[in-house]
């Protein structure tokens, strides 16, 4: 079995990559994907900890995170669509207000 330390390291790197993208990218879809990357990094950590400690709670938290990620994507894409219709762009540099 893979050493959970390696899995933890991978999840930490994925999390920081996601955070990096969320801070530096201007395209709202890419920022949304970066949030997903962070959530999945957390999932990886939960899963690794669950297997290591033999506790199923980590898997349950993963289910929670997956459901929240699905809701986030649905709402996020709907907001992006609305944003595009209002401002004709999804560049976060140009869209500064949520209201038109």
């Amino acid at each position: 079995m893979i050493d959970p330390l390696y899995v933890s390291g991978l999840s930490a790197m994925l999390f920081v990559m996601g955070l990096w993208g969320a801070f530096t990218r201007k395209n709202a879809i890419i920022v949304l994907m970066c949030f997903e990357l962070m959530l999945n990094a957390a999932n990886l950590q939960f899963a690794a900890a669950a297997v290591h400690h033999g506790d199923v709670t980590g898997w349950i938290y993963t289910v929670f995170a997956i459901a929240i990620a699905a809701a986030e994507v649905a709402i996020g894409l709907a907001i992006l669509l609305s944003m595009y219709n209002q401002h004709e762009t999804i560049s976060l540099d140009e869209v500064e207000l949520l209201k038109h």
Partner: protein, 193 residues
């Protein structure tokens, strides 16, 4: 600006090392368990101790999805118009003024009258979500049932505006009833002539 960018990147790099340091702590990974997790254990936990939180999560997820669907649905007309004619917002209002000659409403009313149902029964058949009103999609489906299936979206919207006497953007039962009354009056007038 450049200083901010460099500082952010350095901070993120520092965060990575902090995270790796915390996660590599022996205290976290000491005492590994010999227990093997399997799917039945997960399902036991989900349907046992975690059933209520998961049910609440499901409800919240459903609400989020419904909200997102409605948000997208509200934008649909604008999107379709943009796709169809590549127009800017200023032209949207002009587009919704259609060149329909009125035959479509007469054909629709004739179809409804020929079905031999009460207005309430017809309305209930079209109102798929049971909201008490017909939105654009439901009205388009009703037109399609009547064999009027070749209308572009803007013409469907124009017909809706014609029927929508109170300007709510949706068709309610009295408005559909008015259409049939007008149809009956037109037929009666035609027969008298």
């Amino acid at each position: 600006m450049r200083l901010t960018s460099i500082t952010t990147r350095l901070a993120l790099l520092a965060l990575l090392f902090v995270l790796l340091g915390v996660l590599a702590d022996d205290a976290i990974w000491a005492n590994p368990s010999d227990a093997t997790l399997d799917t039945p254990m997960l399902s036991d936990a989900m349907f046992g101790a975690w059933s209520l939180p998961l049910a609440l999560l499901g409800v919240l997820l459903a609400v989020a999805m419904i909200g997102a669907a409605y948000l997208v649905r509200d934008e649909r007309l604008e999107n379709l118009l943009w796709q169809e004619a590549d127009l800017d917002k200023a032209a949207l209002e002009a587009l919704t003024t259609s060149n329909l000659d009125g035959d479509e409403l007469a054909r629709f009313a004739t179809h409804l009258a020929a079905r031999g149902l009460s207005v309430a029964q017809l309305f209930a058949g079209f109102d798929r979500d049971g909201s008490g009103t017909l939105d654009t999609m439901e009205f388009e489906a009703a037109l399609r049932q009547a064999g009027i299936d070749d209308l572009p979206f803007r013409d469907v919207d124009a017909l809706m505006r014609t029927l929508d006497a109170n300007g709510t953007g949706q068709i309610d039962l009295p408005e559909l009833h008015n259409l049939l009354l007008q149809h009956e009056a037109a037929i009666g007038g035609g027969e008298e002539e």
